[in-house]
């Protein structure tokens, strides 16, 4: 009976990996509450897979940002000439007003 209650108590405190990964993701954008932060810390101490998830998630975010800058800078795509001419006319017209 007591053992059962203890297990139930542990369940309430210990996060599942699903909850832990959810909190890891969320913590990348906002600050977690005190209790959640402690729970996550405890979970990470004991769970190698969630520790890996955290590192990999950070790597993804970092590279996503770089990728985005890269894509914009490389300017591989060009707007078709006729569309550009249309835009230019639009600008000229607005300026003439």
């Amino acid at each position: 009976m007591i053992k059962k209650m203890m297990i139930r108590g542990m369940d309430a405190v210990m996060l599942t990996c699903e909850e832990a990964t959810y909190l890891i993701t969320k913590s990348e954008y906002v600050k977690l509450g005190c209790i959640k932060r402690m729970q996550l810390k405890m979970h990470l101490m004991g769970c190698v897979f969630c520790r890996r998830f955290k590192l990999q998630s950070e790597l993804i975010n970092e590279n996503l940002e770089q990728l985005e800058l890269l894509e914009a800078q490389q300017a591989k795509q060009e707007i078709p000439l006729e569309k550009k001419e249309k835009m230019q006319t639009l600008v000229e017209e607005a300026l003439a007003k």
């Binding site: 599942t16 990996c17 699903e18 909850e19 990964t21 959810y22 993701t25 969320k26 954008y29 906002v30 897979f49 969630c50 890996r52 998830f53 990999q56 998630s57 790597l59 993804i60 970092e62 590279n63 996503l64 940002e65 770089q66 990728l67 985005e68 890269l70 894509e71 914009a72 490389q74 300017a75 591989k76 795509q77 060009e78 707007i79 078709p80 569309k83 550009k84 249309k86 835009m87 230019q88 639009l90 600008v91 000229e92 607005a94 300026l95």
Partner: protein
């Protein structure tokens, strides 16, 4: 370097900035026609807002900030039709048993042997990242991208996309799990 304030030169916007803005928009909306329209809208809005340019940023930076606003507007309009959470995704966690909601055997993250200080490896990693990003459901990708625009706040995005904040985290969480699995699969197979 001179301290002269930057000035606007709308005559040259199309020739000097349109392709840059186009590529920026293209990465966000992945639709050529839509991206071109967004650039055009940006120029029109810019012409009307010339007086708000204070000259402390470059002309291009200023135009990009208008474009970002336009992109968010675009998401807002299109999100009305598709603001549901895609459930067509199996979670990498056990559905039941003693280890319910803990990593399943097939879902467990493996250790990644990636050295991102090595240019070649980083390039390859980013190539796979872009590929996996393109596999995400459209609505998830929108949120992923929006999150990167100027670190927009969570509330702002929820308002823009017409979703609740818990939905936002659920979607980002799933998108991240899916991206992770996709990268692992493609990286190991490469």
């Amino acid at each position: 370097m001179s301290k002269e304030p930057n000035i606007l030169n709308p005559q040259k916007w199309v020739s000097e900035h349109s392709d840059y803005l186009y590529n920026y928009a293209l990465f966000k909306v992945s639709n050529e026609m839509m991206a071109q329209d967004l650039v055009q809208d940006t120029f029109v809005a810019g012409l009307n807002a010339q007086t708000s340019f204070k000259g402390n940023s470059t002309e291009r930076t200023w135009l990009v900030s208008i474009l970002k606003r336009k992109i968010i507007d675009h998401y807002r309009k299109s999100s009305v039709r598709k603001n549901t959470i895609n459930t067509d995704f199996s979670m990498p966690f056990n559905a039941g048993g003693m280890y319910k909601k803990h990593w399943s055997d097939s879902g467990q993250p493996n250790k990644w042997k990636i050295d991102t200080s090595n240019d070649l490896e980083r390039e390859e990693f980013q190539r796979i990242l872009a590929l996996c990003l393109s596999y995400l459901p459209e609505h998830w990708r929108d949120i992923f991208h929006l999150k990167l625009i100027e670190e927009a706040s969570g509330e702002e995005i929820c308002k823009d996309l017409n979703i609740t904040s818990s939905n936002l985290w659920v979607i980002i969480h799933r998108a991240k799990l899916k991206m992770r699995a996709c990268i692992e699969k493609n990286w190991l197979e490469a």
